[in-house]
C-alpha cells in the first residue's frame, strides 16, 4: 500500500477514510484530526490553560503529545487510585512522558492521601468498584482544574470510546446521557469545561501514533475492567466496522450532527449548588464524593489539600 500524500510505502491504512499513510503523513493526519475536532466543537483556543487527565495509556499520552506538538499549554493530571501494580506501572509511564517532554504533571494519590485505595472506598460505601472509580476521577479532575485555575479539563476519549458509549446509551434509551453526550461540555455552575479532542480518531490510530512516535504507554488494561459491557459494545462496533468501514464515524459523528438535538430541551438543566462539605458543585446538599468518602470513614477535604500540594 502507498501513502495517499507522498506515494512512499504506507505503514497504516485508515479504511473509513479510504486512505493509507507513511509515518510522517500519518502523524500529520492525527494532528489534523485533533485540530479539526478542537475547531469544529470550539473546544479551546491557543493560550488557554488545559488540564489533561493522563492515565499512562495510549490515548491520553498520544493526546498529550499532539497538544504539545500543536503548541497548546497542556499540563497533565495523574490520579493514583492504588490499583496494585497496575497503578504503579501506569503512573511511571505518565511520569516518564512528562519528564521526557518537560511537561508539568500534577499527581493526586489516594493511597498517599488516605492510606487506602479506591477499592476500599467502594467496599466501605457499598458501591460498585468501577462507578466509585469514575466518581473519584471526575471529582478530582474538576476540583483540580478549578483549584489550579485551568480553563478546561481534557480527556483522551477516542472515537471507539464515544461510539461504544453512544451504543450503550441508545440500547437502553438513557435519554439524559444522550442529551449530555458531547465532546465539549461547556463550563456551568462550578463545573469546569470538559472536552474530548480525540473524538475523531479510533484507538488503532492512537496506538499507532504512540508506536510511531516512540511513546511508551501501558499496554495492560485496568484489571477491574475485565468483562465491562463497554468492551462488548466496542466489539460489536468493530464487527460492523470491518464489514462496512466508516460505521463508527457515521454512528457517532452523525449523532452529533443529526441526532443529538432531538434529545435537547424537555426537562430543565438540574440546578447545582456548592456542596455543604467541600464546596464543589452538586445537585444535593452534600455531593456524592463527600458522602461516599465519609461513609468509608475518611475526610473528603484531605483530597482538596492533596490537590493544592500536587506540584507541577
Amino acid at each position: 500500500m502507498r501513502c495517499l500524500k507522498c506515494g512512499s510505502g504506507a505503514c497504516i491504512e485508515i479504511r473509513r477514510h479510504r486512505a493509507a499513510y507513511c509515518e510522517e503523513h500519518f502523524v500529520e493526519h492525527v494532528h489534523k484530526q485533533v485540530t479539526r475536532a478542537v475547531r469544529k466543537f470550539k473546544m479551546f483556543e491557543p493560550g488557554e490553560k488545559l488540564l489533561l487527565a493522563v492515565s499512562g495509556g495510549k490515548d491520553s499520552l498520544a493526546l498529550w503529545d499532539v497538544l504539545l506538538d500543536l503548541g497548546y499549554q497542556a499540563d497533565g493530571l495523574y490520579i493514583d487510585l492504588g490499583i496494585g501494580d497496575y497503578s504503579a506501572r501506569s503512573r511511571e509511564k505518565a511520569e516518564n512522558f512528562a519528564g521526557a517532554r518537560r511537561a508539568a504533571l500534577h499527581v493526586v494519590s489516594l493511597p498517599e492521601t488516605y492510606g487506602v485505595n479506591v477499592g476500599y472506598i467502594a467496599k466501605k460505601s457499598g458501591k460498585p468498584f468501577c462507578s466509585t472509580c469514575g466518581l473519584v476521577k471526575r471529582y478530582i479532575m474538576n476540583a483540580a482544574a478549578s483549584i489550579k485555575g485551568y480553563d478546561a479539563v481534557v480527556t483522551g476519549h477516542n472515537l471507539d470510546d464515544e461510539a461504544g458509549a453512544l451504543l450503550g446509551n441508545a440500547l437502553s434509551w438513557q435519554v439524559g446521557y444522550l442529551r449530555r453526550q458531547s465532546p465539549n461540555m461547556p463550563a456551568s455552575q462550578g463545573l469546569v469545561r470538559k472536552v474530548k479532542p480525540l473524538c475523531r480518531l479510533g484507538e488503532r490510530e492512537t496506538a499507532a501514533y504512540c508506536i510511531i512516535k516512540g511513546i511508551n504507554y501501558i499496554l495492560e488494561e485496568c484489571p477491574m475492567a475485565k468483562g465491562a459491557s463497554s468492551l462488548a459494545y466496542k466489539d460489536v462496533l468493530n464487527a460492523l466496522e470491518s464489514r462496512a468501514p466508516g460505521t463508527k464515524d457515521r454512528f457517532y459523528l452523525g449523532f452529533l450532527r443529526e441526532g443529538r438535538h432531538y434529545f435537547q430541551g424537555g426537562s430543565e438543566e438540574p440546578q447545582l449548588r456548592p456542596c455543604s462539605v467541600c464546596g464543589q458543585p452538586t445537585t444535593a446538599e452534600t455531593c456524592s464524593f463527600c458522602r461516599q468518602v465519609q461513609r468509608a470513614g475518611l475526610d473528603p477535604l484531605a483530597v482538596l489539600e492533596a490537590i493544592k500540594n500536587s506540584g507541577a
Binding site: 505503514c11 468501577c130 484507538e203 496506538a207 499507532a208 508506536i211 470491518s242
Partner: protein, 64 residues
C-alpha cells in the same frame, strides 16, 4: 513465520507465505481491533510475511 499475539503473549507458527490480512483471517482476529507490527513498526494488510520472519499482533481495545 512466528506470530506473537500480545494479548496473552502466545506464539503461533504459520507455514508458508501470507499477507498480513490473511494471517488475521487465519487466526480469526478482527483487523479493526489490532495493529500488526513487523520490526516494531505497524504494517498494512497487503504486506507479505513468511520464512523466518516474525510479526506481532497488538490489541488496541481499551477501557472499561
Amino acid at each position: 513465520m512466528r506470530v506473537i499475539i500480545r494479548k496473552d503473549n502466545t506464539v503461533r507458527e504459520i507455514e508458508g507465505k501470507h499477507t498480513v490480512g490473511n494471517i488475521l483471517r487465519l487466526l480469526d482476529i478482527n483487523p479493526e481491533a489490532v495493529l500488526v507490527l513487523k520490526d516494531g513498526k505497524p504494517v498494512t494488510r497487503d504486506v507479505v510475511v513468511g520464512g523466518d520472519e516474525e510479526i506481532e499482533i497488538l490489541p488496541v481495545m481499551s477501557g472499561g
